[in-house]
Amino acid sequence: MEKLGSIQFVALLILFQVGSYVIFGFASSAKQDAWLVALLSMVSGLFLTLIYYAIYALYPGLNYVEILRRTFGSGLGGLLGACYLIAFTYVAGRVLRDFGELVTTFILPRTPILVVLFCLVFVCYYGLNAGIEVVGRVAEFMLFLFLFFLLTQTIFLTGSGLANFEFLLPIAHDKKAIVQSLIPLGITVPFGETIAFLMFYNQVRRQDMVKFLLMFSVVGAGLVLMSLNLLAVAILGPELYARNIYPMITAVQQVSVADFVESLDALIVIYIGIAAFFKITVFMYSAAVGASSLFRLQEYRTVLIPLSVAVLLLSTFMSKSLPEHVFIGLNWVPWVLWVPLFIILPILVLGIGMFRTRGERGHVEAKNR
């Protein structure tokens, strides 16, 4: 089994969690308090991740599908595992569509979306075919690049004299908006989504480090999200930030330094490449690994091509227009998919697992006596 180094695991996690929000903005409906939502979301993300890790700690060395089987038996566990697979595939398709829509709105308005989707899926397929270790290495490299670009962007934006941090006031005045953007969206994405990683915690080389790496990445990603939100609000003001579908892009477009660096639009295209790749790849990989252990296959690569085609088709036919897509994404998906699969079921699994181990321990102790 391919192994992931510590930095590779963290890089994958951070790029996965931060990825799309560098473009789409996070919790923009909370206006100037978006950074606060990011912070709260990070805290809830820490709890969720701890739950996921606790599940893994009960069954070290197993992936999530195997854990589900162990918990609920082969039949029900397999069924639930299949639910996750379908969910991951669906979410991969959703993310793909998100980026496809973004590219066709912003960069290539007349290009058929299918071409864009195909290109993105192809890159993901190519990466996964090379193996998760290679993807991890790409992530490692890209994380440095990504942080470098974020830093450049921040310097240029603040250097352009556009940022006005007064826009962040008043803090937490509209508590309703904060709660609304936190529940369910803020607590499930992006940190809840890291349940996809539960499929390959066992592939981290330093097993003793997994917990630390998870915590580190959640805090790191949370802080990055928070500072991005702070910056974007300071540049666009609360209303423009909240109304804009792509606030981060609009923010980056404001850069103007010395009449030469007129816009950093090129950065956005790079972000799109990085973010889309890692988000889709991780979901696809989890689905593929899950499928291979569900169907007891030797190699996850066997399912890659059908999986890629499925993701491509799903993303093409999942919704007819961007508004429909966004509407489903904001109002249906969180309640139907994310809350049960990211929160309720893992807690259940953890509960049953802990009950059983306690039972077993009691059993063993009784025997010893």
Binding site: G5, I107, A130, G131, V134, R137, D259, S263, D265, I270
Partner: protein, 515 residues
């Protein structure tokens, strides 16, 4: 880590049939002098340069074109006039030959075979002519500061050049004869105690599995031992410089000398290694670091500049500053071709020019480049066929591609440019980003003799970065690259950074009162 398909069994029985080397080994020399000579002559097809000379009690056999005739006369034939007396033979290399296979081999190495009447063995004295090109400055890797000697076509001279730099008994030289017809000498160099034995074994194993008729140049070997044979990027370094080989050996890498070519091979090679020049180590580290960064920047320019130009002018006009945009627009006004076609045309022309410059004799080559670059470029712009910005873009790209120290790496970058231009022309910047992602995945999946190609950036290694992204001073480069798994990783003991003396005589004399 050492993932490699070892199962490379060869079913090529014809080769064995053709050459009969194994069979020849079985054929022992007989006691009949004439039989021995006849069978050897038959083997060589009575070649005119295979000559025999009698001496009292025997016969001398050699290939006159490859032996040193003067030495043959003076030290062999002259002594033999009194019959064969081993103690009188002034020879450094003297071997007993007992079978035909060995006899053939010795003859081809430039030995003189001495056959005696009624003896079932012969003696071979190696007096092959050691004529070789004088040691010259390497043509492909010139430096401003640094040693000026380069490898020649003679493997012995090449090994001597390395030995002269590494005066240690631990220098291990393993010799292979590769090529069933050519029997080319290939020497695997490593340093016992520094090079990981895994690396040496791996290399040895790869060399042993090569079955080919002949080796004309080290690239024959390179293509057999690469980790990913279809990649554009070189995963094995070639060099003409003995100092590069020696430095690589000191890092714990392995080197291959191949006879009859001045290009030696070094493995493993990483992406960053391909961007380094030997001169980085001979100039001050700040300068070297700055130069490395310039190379990184120009690497991107070489790879992406024409594509970015095409993408931005045909897809993302909003990304240019207004004034620049208007200048470009006015320069492109009236230009008949789309930017994509223009870029492809100019890039292909540029590559053709470069190729023509290499192939032609040097003085003509220069003329071609000048005519090509200046006259065609100027004329094309003035005639309004090509827009001026495109000429600028192509020239800068050309210059950028020549800043890459490794020629074959530069070629890889230049070739990759074309698919990227096409992608940029169809999908704009998005296409470029897709291309870069694919390229990154490809680079990350490459390994050179098991070492990830992008090491030390990914997988990340702090120690490794000291000699990749920057070049730290020699006293701070404490460890050998981690992934080479050298048995003695410590290279330079820490704490050797020079400092001004704490108290100099002068500061004692006058500095005392100052404070």
């Amino acid at each position: 880590m050492w993932k490699r398909k070892t199962a490379r069994k060869h079913q090529s029985k014809q080769h064995a049939e053709l050459l009969n080397t194994e069979k020849l080994k079985q054929q022992r020399l007989t006691s009949s002098l004439q039989d021995n000579l006849d069978s050897l002559k038959d083997l060589f097809g009575h070649s005119p340069d295979l000559i025999t000379r009698p001496f009292p009690g025997g016969m001398v056999l050699c290939i006159k074109t490859i032996v040193d005739l003067k030495r043959m006369e003076e030290s062999v034939l002259a002594t033999l006039q009194d019959g064969l007396r081993l103690d009188k033979l002034a020879a450094v290399e003297l071997f007993r030959v007992q079978d035909q296979g060995r006899a053939v081999q010795e003859l081809l190495e430039g030995s003189v075979l001495i056959f005696q009447q009624n003896a079932e063995e012969a003696f071979a004295i190696r007096i092959g002519n050691t004529e070789h090109r004088a040691i010259e400055e390497p043509q492909t890797e010139s430096v401003i500061r640094g040693p000026r000697d380069g490898f020649t076509e003679s493997i012995d001279v090449n090994l001597a050049l390395v030995r002269r730099r590494l005066k240690t008994p631990s220098l291990r030289v393993e010799e292979f004869n590769i090529g069933e017809v050519s029997r080319t000498k290939v020497q695997l160099l490593s340093i016992e105690g520094i090079t990981s034995s895994k690396l040496v074994n791996e290399m040895r194993q790869r060399l042993e599995t090569i079955r080919i008729d002949g080796i004309m140049e080290s690239n024959y070997i390179e293509e057999f031992i690469e980790d990913s044979p279809f990649g554009l990027f070189p995963t094995i370094q070639n060099t003409e410089r003995p100092d590069v080989i020696s430095a690589a050996l000191l890092e714990g890498r392995v080197a291959l000398l191949v006879d009859s070519t001045p290009f030696a091979l070094v493995a493993p090679l990483t992406f960053w290694g391909a961007l380094q020049s030997s001169e980085d180590y001979y100039s001050h580290f700040t300068v070297a670091t700055a130069l490395r960064w310039i190379r990184f920047v120009f690497l991107f320019i070489a790879l992406l500049f024409p594509s970015i130009y095409v993408a931005i002018t045909t897809y993302h006009q909003e990304m240019l500053p207004t004034n620049l945009l208007l200048s470009v627009a006015s320069a492109r006004e009236g230009s008949p071709f789309p930017a994509l076609v223009e870029a492809l045309m100019m890039e292909v022309t540029f590559e053709a020019l470069r190729e023509a410059g290499v192939r032609l004799p040097r003085p003509v080559g220069q003329a071609v480049s000048i005519v090509g670059a200046l006259v065609i470029g100027q004329a094309a712009v003035e005639a309004g066929i090509i827009s001026a910005p495109m000429v600028i873009v192509v020239s800068i790209t050309g210059i950028a591609s020549f800043t890459i120290p490794r020629y074959n790496f530069g070629i890889a970058m230049r070739l990759l440019r074309f698919p990227i231009i096409l992608l940029a022309g169809t999908l704009g910047l998005f296409g470029i980003v897709i291309a870069i992602m694919i390229l990154m995945i490809h680079l990350s999946s490459l390994r050179s003799l098991g070492v990830p190609y992008l090491y030390p950036v990914s997988p990340f290694s702090w120690q490794g970065l000291k000699d990749a992204v920057v070049r730290v001073p020699h006293w701070a480069k404490n460890r050998r690259p981690f992934l080479l798994q050298s048995p003695s990783p410590l290279r330079v003991p820490a704490g050797q950074n020079p400092e001004p003396p704490i108290q100099t005589p002068q500061s004692d004399a006058k500095g005392g009162t100052d404070t």
